[in-house]
Amino acid sequence: MKIQPIKFLPVIILLGIGIAFAFGLRNDPSKLASTMINKPWPDFTLERVIADQPAFSREDLHGKISLVNVFGSWCAACVQEHPMLMRLANREGVIIYGIDWRDTAEAGSAWLEKYGNPYRKVGLDANSRLAIDLGVTGAPETFLVDKNAQIRFKVVGPIDEKIWTEQLKPMIQLLQNET
């Protein structure tokens, strides 16, 4: 019997589709590639969350490496992430600023009162103005900002031990050697 290569075409096509799916379905669609990496932090003005503390502003980012964390009192994953942020701020000496996103100052400050405040400064972004400028799609999201207020890296979702030791910590060490 003569083998006709054309008869194998459906099998080959099916295999191709299968392979494409095997790789494609592993991508998490909620994790968008950020277009903001290596761009300067946008200008913004935020309102106060904590009554007796000035709001987080762009000047705070100059001259130091910092993390900027997007959170909200409505955000369940932020509660999960919170102990990690507390540890980074208190024991690893990381400077963290907070953007209280789509929230009210009352709810935001009450939340920080309840779970502890890892942020050097906090600002309220009630109408997503800064969040949209940053390309934020959900909370928590954390930006790594260098000494020149440039965004260098973004973590979508909670920071865990693995992300801290394998990604953030080495990157912060690298950035410290930059001028």
Binding site: P29, L32, S34, R102, N127, S128, A131, I132, G135
Partner: protein, 157 residues
């Protein structure tokens, strides 16, 4: 007959409204109907980044609402439709467009339908070109020769 008509009318009305549903709140709308129409058209082309299969015009997500407001603000500030879209693309990437632009990394997406049509046409051509097999007349000499062989084998056994 009259009852049937009522049922059909009810069904049409029910499904007809689906086409008109949108998430724009009355307070969000611009007072100028022309500008509002532009905002609606732009919003329909922008993806809600929370619920990714809806446009921000359809989506009830809070972030989509904030993005709709921002689209209207940009329009009021005098941006063209393209400038508003570029504003969002700058922040969220091409993904934010419901219809991805033709670029190097979307080439496969745009060309694969053409490729599949070509494969289909090729297959059709290949199959239809094939001539119906004409049966060869039986070669009596050969048949007899083979019959003899078989018979000989049987005899040996």
């Amino acid at each position: 007959m009259k009852n049937q008509l009522t049922v059909i009318l009810a069904i049409l009305l029910f499904f007809g409204t689906a086409g008109f549903s949108f998430a724009v709140k009355p307070g969000e709308q611009l007072s100028d109907p022309k500008l509002e129409q532009r905002a609606r058209t732009i919003s329909k082309g922008l993806r809600c980044v929370v619920c990714q299969n809806q446009s921000i015009d359809d989506s009830d997500a809070e972030l989509a609402g904030d993005m709709r407001k921002l689209v209207r603000e940009r329009i009021l500030a005098g941006d063209s439709d393209q400038q508003v879209k570029d504003f969002m693309v700058e922040r969220y990437g091409n993904f934010v467009l419901m219809k991805p632009p033709l670029a190097v990394n979307t080439l496969g997406l745009w060309l694969s339908p053409v490729l599949f049509i070509l494969i289909g046409v090729g297959l059709f051509w290949h199959v239809s070109r094939r001539k119906p097999q004409t049966k060869k007349p039986i070669d009596t000499d050969e048949t007899e020769h083979r019959l003899e062989e078989v018979l000989n084998k049987m005899k040996k056994n």
